[in-house]
Amino acid sequence: MHIMEGFLPIAHAAGWWAVSLPFLVGGVRSLKRIVKEKPSARLLLGAAGAFVFVLSALKLPSVTGSCSHPTGTGLGAILFGPSVMSVLGAIVLLFQALLLAHGGLTTLGANTFSMAIAGPWISYAIWRGARGARLPRESAVFLAAALGDLATYTVTSLQLAFAFPDPAGGFMGSLMKFMAIFSVTQIPLALAEGFLTVLIMRALAVYAPGDLLTLRRTKEGKVAP
């Protein structure tokens, strides 16, 4: 899902930065609020960020014969809400842009939007929707993490098709080509991320039930889904 440095026309690069900035500002606010209201959750917040660090470093082979990586943003979105993930995801992307020449500073706005904003928000929406529809907890976690992962790569394809429409097939033609590279490759990886996220949630329920409860307790003392 990394759009390489300089690989978006200036207007697109600037446009995606402009779209992502308000989410980052909101993310910093959300981060500050969580740290202030639930100081005991700080370490778990770090672990959720670390999960993104690990998963986005693992480039896995896929059935298409190419490699890609999961994102790990669904876990944090379920635990802390999607807003804070914009910051955690952007930190990971910045690390990769500066040290690994993976992604870039000019494309950081676009990459932040796909991995750290669209993915987590879609994960969160699916998580809430699935719990609202009374789906079992673990099925909801699985769907949220797997589909959020897939969504990130679909958004990258949309961004690239928007910037580089096919001379013959236009936007849709280009979208199909980019999705063939990104989204199809991502399907098995998204399933793996879904399972891993369920496994981590299980481990949290065993070792840190207190932390989970702190998070689910809203201001009114009610326990969220």
Partner: protein, 98 residues
């Protein structure tokens, strides 16, 4: 551990390993290249005249250095997660002892 926990761990491993065997190697073609790089190449075919207008400030000088930095990224993340679960399980045991 629950049986389904083992099954899910096996599924994750299988999802990562099985592609290595079911994807037939094509002659003269590098297998399992990165999707990001393929997309980059596709941009070149869709819009051959596109000029990259900004280049990375720093690039890992070799594939080895690149894999070093990727391992560092994974190791840092895994360390923090391990620390978190270590503390959580220690806290749980201490709670039981009281």
């Amino acid at each position: 551990m629950k049986k389904s926990t083992w099954l899910m761990m096996a599924a994750v491993a299988a999802l990562a390993v099985v592609p290595l065997f079911i994807h037939a190697p094509v002659k003269n073609e590098e297998a399992f290249t990165g999707a990001d790089g393929q997309a980059e190449a596709l941009i070149g075919t869709i819009q051959p005249g596109y000029k990259v207008w900004f280049t990375p400030l720093f690039e890992p000088p070799s594939g080895e250095i690149e894999s070093l930095l990727f391992s560092l990224q994974a190791a840092l993340g895994a360390g923090v997660i391990g620390f978190y679960f270590g503390r959580a399980s220690g806290r749980k045991q201490a709670g039981k002892a009281v």
